[in-house]
Symmetry: C2
Subunit: 156 residues, 2 copies
DNA sequence: CTGCCTGCAAACTCTTTGCACGAAT
DNA sequence: ATTCGTGCAAAGAGTTTGCAGGCAG
């Protein structure tokens, strides 16, 4: 999906919801798509400001839930205080597990197709209606095993 | 494991680590074991104070990591801002998944033996050394499906 | 006695919110 | 013209930390 096509999808999502397509929202959206990997609200703010320097932290926080609801963005919570986000990859990331490096907080994602099966099993056992599931593995880099620290981890 | 036996384990853990077995730490530990289900730091503080009213919030927060490290307590992060804890059940809860009710934040736990298998698979694929894994399913109570809200959820 | 632990309160981090101005429809 | 959206700064929630005094070993 090209950047322009994605932006059009976001525009139409906003319109459909009766929300306005402001420059700030579009700048934040473009910034989100420009991120290569997972990013935090603060990183998103920095990048969005390089596109439109009038973007404020408050608007970033107000726009994140909108983008998440539009399914063009996914929220990833690895339990480190701050939330991470990532642009969706055209349906391929419905069932993904995260592998988090304990040393540098880098997030890898791999597919885990059995997760939905598991959610359904659970629904039968407990009489619940599953909405979502997440599977996360915390791990050390191999570099950590050899050198005692993660190469991506700058000073502590 | 009886409460006294558990307390002895905690005492010896403290000693082994060169930490002191203060009244506050023991009161907090007893309070943790007395909780029937998952609890928050604040709930633990309340209960610990009913045992020893000199216990402060700071000491609770300082003691939680110690108990977690001793493996007598487990930390459960369901991504709701505050962390939950639970006393360990003698080895049976090494591989458990959490099912969280979206409406009342109640946490159910069920065994998920395939998690360790998954962690190992991941370690092979990515060349990482897995340390822990967590699997969580977010779901609605059946009561929610029928009445539109969770019975455990008081006013909103 | 020595120094680890404690309570208190202030600090911190991330996120949310009230308010008056500004811009999209 | 209307509203909805915005930036700013203050508030909020949960957790952490500096400090002076207190108790375990």
């Amino acid at each position: 999906m090209s950047l322009t096509a994605a932006r059009d999808k976001f525009r139409s999502f906003l319109t459909r919801k009766g929300l306005r397509a402001t420059n700030q929202r579009l700048a934040i959206f473009d910034a989100a798509l420009a991120q290569g990997e997972h990013f935090t609200a603060e990183q998103l703010l920095d990048y969005a400001r390089s596109i439109d320097d009038s973007v404020s932290r408050a608007t970033v926080y107000r726009t994140l839930p909108i983008m998440t609801e539009s399914a063009l963005l996914r929220e990833v919570d690895i339990g480190t205080g701050e939330k991470y986000y990532r642009a969706s990859r055209e349906g391929t990331d419905v069932q993904v597990a995260q592998v988090v490096c304990i040393d540098c907080d880098r997030i890898f994602e791999i597919s885990a197709p059995f997760m939905s099966w598991y959610g359904n099993t659970v629904s039968q056992k407990l009489g619940l209606t599953p909405v979502s599931q997440r599977l996360q593995v915390s791990a050390h880099c191999n570099a950590w095993r050899e050198t005692g620290h993660c190469p991506r981890r700058e000073a502590t």
